[in-house]
Symmetry: C2
């Protein structure tokens, strides 16, 4: 069953990959129109999900996230499809060209990856977003959403398939699956599935990474940090740390660790610590930090919110108003600490010195390295990608916030007029390669 789904996706991918951007955009417009026309049908299905969730005593915030009728959620979902449709075509871009010899031209051209398996949470509007991303990038997709939106997903995907029936996109290019059992079977279909994109809890991502040979685009952890160098502007440091920690504690780009240069323990630490505590943050500190806070008379006032850190606190994604704090000797120490403990997501330095900042940015091995800015900017929309597929902490392919580009790869197109290798040096012949530039 899973193999059949994967094989269908793979066969559909062959049909979808050469479809022009105009036809892909037309298909997305048609999906938009069908979902608009089917609004009542979708909301009716959504109501069944809501009632089921309430009966099952699902927590109120989760129920709220399921509700497609709230505010402008439905219209925003429809608009999102048009937004993705209007992005530049990510396919067919020439990124390298080389004239190997007269009449033998090599082009590196962006192309879809092939078949995506996207596993996502229960928000029903996400299915429309992912469908749009997949079709825009000419990838076939297998979708698995959270079970709480079962009926909503069913209604939306039915309409998507009806819409696709009148387009160049084969219906098998977008398949919805429903059981968790099928997911574990699909994760074995590395012959047909090229990339898994899990969007959900860290546990979900980790469990998927542990159970498949298919490459995974995603992040299991967001362990970000801010390093305050001794020459940092104090108020800037304070504002950046507070924003990075408290703006949205559940975000993967929220800071979990604070590193302070030893020379700044008196000048910077107390003010920054006080602002964090005022914002409700609990500090888990090393003995050195505790001592520094005590010396400046902090201990008495703040005792309840300052705790002794354990080593593992610097490897913990708190996702709450908690922050681990340590002192380091300087930028070299900070780099070492971050490369050892961070999840290679996003790390920031606050310093007045461009040289120090450059040292930090070239030394820290994370997908985002920031100078005088909050880690919270790590986001596809803020980066200007127009849309976000997810955030990757992988070291290859796509890193950091991933736009449509992350759903593409490339292929080499060689255009000749009958050339054979045996005419050239290295393969038995005498001809030399010319290797000249072709203007792209």
């Amino acid at each position: 069953m899973a193999e059949e789904i994967a094989r269908t996706a793979s066969a559909s991918s062959t049909v979808l990959r050469p479809v022009s951007n105009a036809s892909r955009v037309a298909a997305l417009q048609r999906i938009h129109d069908f979902l608009e026309a089917g609004k009542q049908e979708i909301l009716a299905a959504n109501k069944v999900d809501l009632e089921t969730a309430e009966k099952a005593n699902v927590a109120a915030p989760l129920v709220k996230r399921l509700d497609l009728s709230k505010g402008d959620k439905f219209d925003a979902m429809l608009q999102g499809i048009l937004d993705v449709a209007s992005l530049p075509d990510p396919i067919g871009k020439v990124t390298y060209a080389n004239r190997l010899d007269d009449g033998l031209d090599l082009y590196r051209v962006t192309c879809p990856i092939g078949v995506l398996l996207v596993i996502f949470e229960s928000r029903p509007e996400v299915i429309a977003n992912i469908t749009a991303l997949a079709i825009k990038s000419a990838n076939a997709v297998i979708l698995k959403g959270g079970k709480e939106s079962f009926h909503s997903f069913g209604a939306i995907s039915r309409l998507v398939r009806e819409a696709l029936a009148g387009t160049e996109i084969p219906p098998g290019a977008v398949q919805l699956i429903e059981s968790r059992q099928e997911v574990s079977e699909l994760l074995k279909q590395d012959k047909y599935i090229d990339l898994v994109v899990p969007r959900g809890s860290n546990e979900l991502v980790r469990s998927i990474k542990d159970n498949t040979k298919i490459p995974v685009l995603g992040h299991a952890d967001g362990l970000c940090s801010v390093y305050i160098h001794g020459d940092a502007d104090l108020d800037m440091a304070r504002r950046i740390v507070v924003d990075a920690k408290t703006n949205y504690v559940a975000g993967c780009n929220a800071a979990e660790s604070l590193l302070v240069q030893r020379s700044a323990l008196q000048s910077h630490l107390p003010t920054v610590a006080k602002s964090l505590i005022d914002a409700g943050v609990t500090l888990k500190v090393t003995p050195e930090i505790a001592e520094a806070l005590k010396e400046c008379g902090a201990e008495g006032t703040w005792n309840a919110t300052i705790m002794a850190a354990e080593e593992k606190d610097f490897d913990t994604e708190f996702l709450s108003l908690t922050m681990a704090v340590a002192a380091v000797g300087g930028v070299e120490d900070a780099i070492k600490h971050i490369n050892t403990h961070s999840s290679k997501h996003t790390d920031s330095i606050v310093t007045a010195s461009k040289e120090t900042a450059d040292r930090f940015m070239n030394g820290v091995d994370s997908s985002g390295v920031y100078w005088n800015a909050s880690t919270r900017f790590a986001d596809g929309f803020r980066y200007g990608f127009g849309t976000e597929v997810g955030i990757s902490t992988s070291k290859i392919h796509a890193r950091g916030p991933v736009g449509l580009e992350g759903l593409t790869c490339y292929q080499y197109q060689l255009r000749g007029n009958g050339q054979v290798a045996s005419d050239y040096v290295g393969a038995g012949g005498q001809k030399q390669f010319k290797h000249g530039k072709i203007d792209i």
Copy 2:
């Protein structure tokens, strides 16, 4: 032990990543000089390997490959180091830039991947080549070579470490390991090792892919094909097919399958088949192909070299003078056949029509798609990369022949002056992102 090696490599990577191109080039020059000065020491060690191999009755061609004193092999090895050193710096290139807001500039900059584990065959000169590639791309590397060159590797790596001692490259950035046991332990160190590059037999690559969660850059199979469209120039088709099949049968870019459009079974097939058979190729053919060859009177003459194909022959990398041959209805059929059976390496169409060629190249999901050229051109040197790390059949990161670029990824550097997310829309504030172009 393996964990210690991997942790050392990871720590060395932190030291190596910011080292300038000038210093990396200087280190490579120094390695070159040390190996040049140590020639007698290396050749003495190499002689021990040769004697050991002869005593163990290792096959003569393999012994020959071990011999560093043959011809210009030693000098070529030394020159190879300087060639890699003189390539453009792959690190620090800005590939995307976006002004998010006034004073908040985002740059996407190429950077090393981190830690490589490279497993390679017994040719002793390969260790110098891989060391050069790793240092040039600022990656730490763990090297494991074939056991037949044990002493040669030891001598070369000792000299490399001595040479590095006088440079900015930490000695732990290049580590040689010796036992196969350690490899299987290293394959578990996904916390420290970022990419495995196996260079060797298909069995080796497949076994590594099956036994690690670390991404693997390589190809287990090279199942390439040539498709002859009905309008192809007959002599061009004949020359391309013969070159692709016979120029170097052990190459991963050699063709294993031939597809012929039905309309060309009389016009093209007999001539092409005769040339293949004259070149010593055994054809494994479908009944339809057999019939076509019989009809044109071929059967009597060629019987011994034409065999009935089984379905699995189209999924087999023969690596010998054997070729599977089938008929297809046209370019659509050819695309489907190739996307089902090929290993996504390199596939070629011979046709007089640009439109048909474009259809083929946009439809075939392989890293190389060729028009009127032999599949044998799939090679980093022929592509003009200056060097080749390997050939990848992966669908993400690097595909096809991989140059130095495949050993790099990128990170986002954000340069601000104190910006915090909570000032901007979407995170609680009112400021809008400007998203303006920065000229690179």
